[in-house]
């Protein structure tokens, strides 16, 4: 049994949160650069993408949050069965979030759903833990902005709707979102599981790099086809019209019930932020 102290968890989360909010992931920045080159010079779409790229550089140079919506703190934790955590894991994660948001002038965006009173420290975090083999702790930090989160959808399809039903669900979600979620978006898609695990699969998909496809050929084919159909919608960067409405479609899959075909589409804006570390 290996011991990991709660303080190490706190420190790691604090560092991951800081780095995540200060910059978009390199694969996303590359995809945005390629997208900008595809749009017509002088167009509003090109202007939007160039502004976004310039913003990423400014954020990096000045160590400023790349987007003011520093998000709801989502933590995906894989905890080895042979690890003993000394102290409270959840408290340590929340302490790490609290420190990162306070020390780095990040916006605190968490509030009561009814009274709308802010918790003032961006906690509680959304913590998803998974027990794994071994004696390591792997932590992934995903600050999730709600302009895009609000546009996400969950479909409980029937088995007869099959692949075409999955594709239609993904494309419909992006079409209905229109200009609102800061396109070009990235779609995290969960296929299968149950009502709850399907949504989590969609979230986990957003920790992958856009452009890298699922190892299963049939799933990769869905990712490619959905992306092509989305980009044929013409919504374009910021909804200004154009060739790029999505930078990528990332699917994760799990077995489901013989009676069902759940599909969750979690929309991520072009400001894709994600960091991870292993203890």
């Amino acid at each position: 049994m290996r011991t990991v102290r709660a303080e190490e968890i706190e420190q790691t989360i604090c560092g991951l949160a800081k780095e995540a909010c200060l910059g978009i992931i390199p694969a996303c920045e590359r995809a945005l650069t390629e997208a900008a080159a595809r749009e017509k010079e002088g167009s509003a779409a090109r202007f939007a993408l160039e502004t976004v790229l310039q913003n990423a550089q400014t954020a990096r140079e000045e160590r400023m949050p790349v987007c003011q919506d520093t998000g709801y703190a989502v933590i995906l934790a894989e905890i080895g069965q042979n690890v003993h955590i000394e102290g409270s894991f959840a408290d340590a994660v929340n302490r790490g979030v609290r420190r990162a948001y306070e020390e780095n002038c990040f916006r605190k965006s968490v509030c009561d759903p009814l009274t709308r009173v802010n918790t003032t420290d961006n906690t509680p975090a959304a913590i998803h833990t998974e027990l794994t083999e071994g004696d390591r702790v792997r932590l992934t930090f995903l600050p999730k902005g709600f302009g895009s989160e609000n546009m996400s959808r969950l479909y409980m399809l029937t088995p007869s709707q099959g692949t075409e039903g999955i594709l239609r669900s993904i494309v419909e979600t992006v079409r209905l979102a229109g200009s609102r979620p800061c396109p070009p978006v990235v779609c995290g898609v969960g296929i299968g599981g149950t009502f709850d695990t399907c949504a989590l699969l969609a979230k986990k998909a957003l920790t992958r790099e856009p452009g890298l496809h699922h190892p299963r050929q049939d799933i990769a084919a869905i990712e490619r086809e959905a992306l092509a159909r989305i980009n044929a919608l013409g919504i374009g960067p910021q909804g200004f019209g154009g060739k790029t409405t999505a930078l990528g479609v990332l699917c994760e899959v799990a077995p489901t019930h013989i009676a069902g075909l759940p599909v969750a589409v979690n929309i991520q804006c072009h400001c894709m932020r994600c960091t991870s570390a292993e203890i």
């Binding site: 509003a44 202007f47 939007a48 502004t51 976004v52 310039q54 913003n55 400014t58 954020a59 000045e62 400023m64 949050p65 790349v66 987007c67 003011q68 919506d69 520093t70 002038c105 990040f106 916006r107 605190k108 965006s109 709308r116 802010n118 003032t120 302009g147 609000n150 079409r175 209905l176 229109g178 200009s179 609102r180 979620p181 800061c182 919608l233 013409g234 919504i235 910021q238 909804g239 200004f240 019209g241 804006c269 072009h270 400001c271």
Partner: protein, 176 residues
């Protein structure tokens, strides 16, 4: 890029066309979900607003706290559609401009045309650039709302696209 000074003059608004890029300098009021709700509740109760809206431009934004040496932290636009429920009422009170991101409802588009106002789209996700364009930030109302409070910003060279002009013409495709 056309340079505009805030508060906007009506003749300048009349000259703007959906799709053109502009750069805004001058003063803006910030306001998002909670501030809009509170403004409308005050109007319902017949209370005077803590700041006049006539001629003003509202920026749908909730900034990050300002770090030392800066007037404002990161501060890009938020999704305007969430303010659609409130915007026509504010336009009736003389609001002239709105800055945010994304399409508006048909009701808001019509209200913009009726009041000869304008809606600008800032580039969503460009928080660092917009935060740096804020030269001065002053708390005006609702301090308990924290980042959702109303601030008066003095901005310089704030890049936007005219998204809905005073004729109701829009850059966005008709509702999909």
């Amino acid at each position: 890029m056309k340079k505009l000074t805030l508060p906007l003059k009506q003749e300048e608004i009349e000259n703007l066309r959906a799709g053109e890029s502009v750069s805004l300098s001058g003063t803006l009021l910030t306001g998002r979900d909670c501030a809009h709700k509170r403004i409308c509740e005050m109007l319902d109760r017949g209370e005077p607003l803590p700041f006049p809206l006539r001629g003003e431009t509202i920026y749908y934004a909730g900034p990050c706290p300002a770090p030392a040496g800066k007037a404002c932290g990161s501060c890009g636009p938020t999704t305007s559609a969430r303010m659609d429920a409130y915007a026509p009422r504010l336009l009736e009170l003389g609001l002239k401009g709105m800055v945010g991101k994304g399409e508006r409802s048909e009701e808001v588009r019509a209200a913009i045309a009726n009041t000869r106002a304008v809606y600008f789209a800032a580039i969503g996700g460009a928080g660092a650039l917009y935060g740096n364009a804020v030269c001065k930030s002053e708390l005006i109302a609702f301090p308990d709302l924290l980042s959702e409070a109303v601030y008066r910003f003095t901005v310089k060279d704030f890049p936007c696209i005219v998204a809905i002009d005073c004729r109701g013409e829009t850059i966005y495709k008709p509702s999909l």
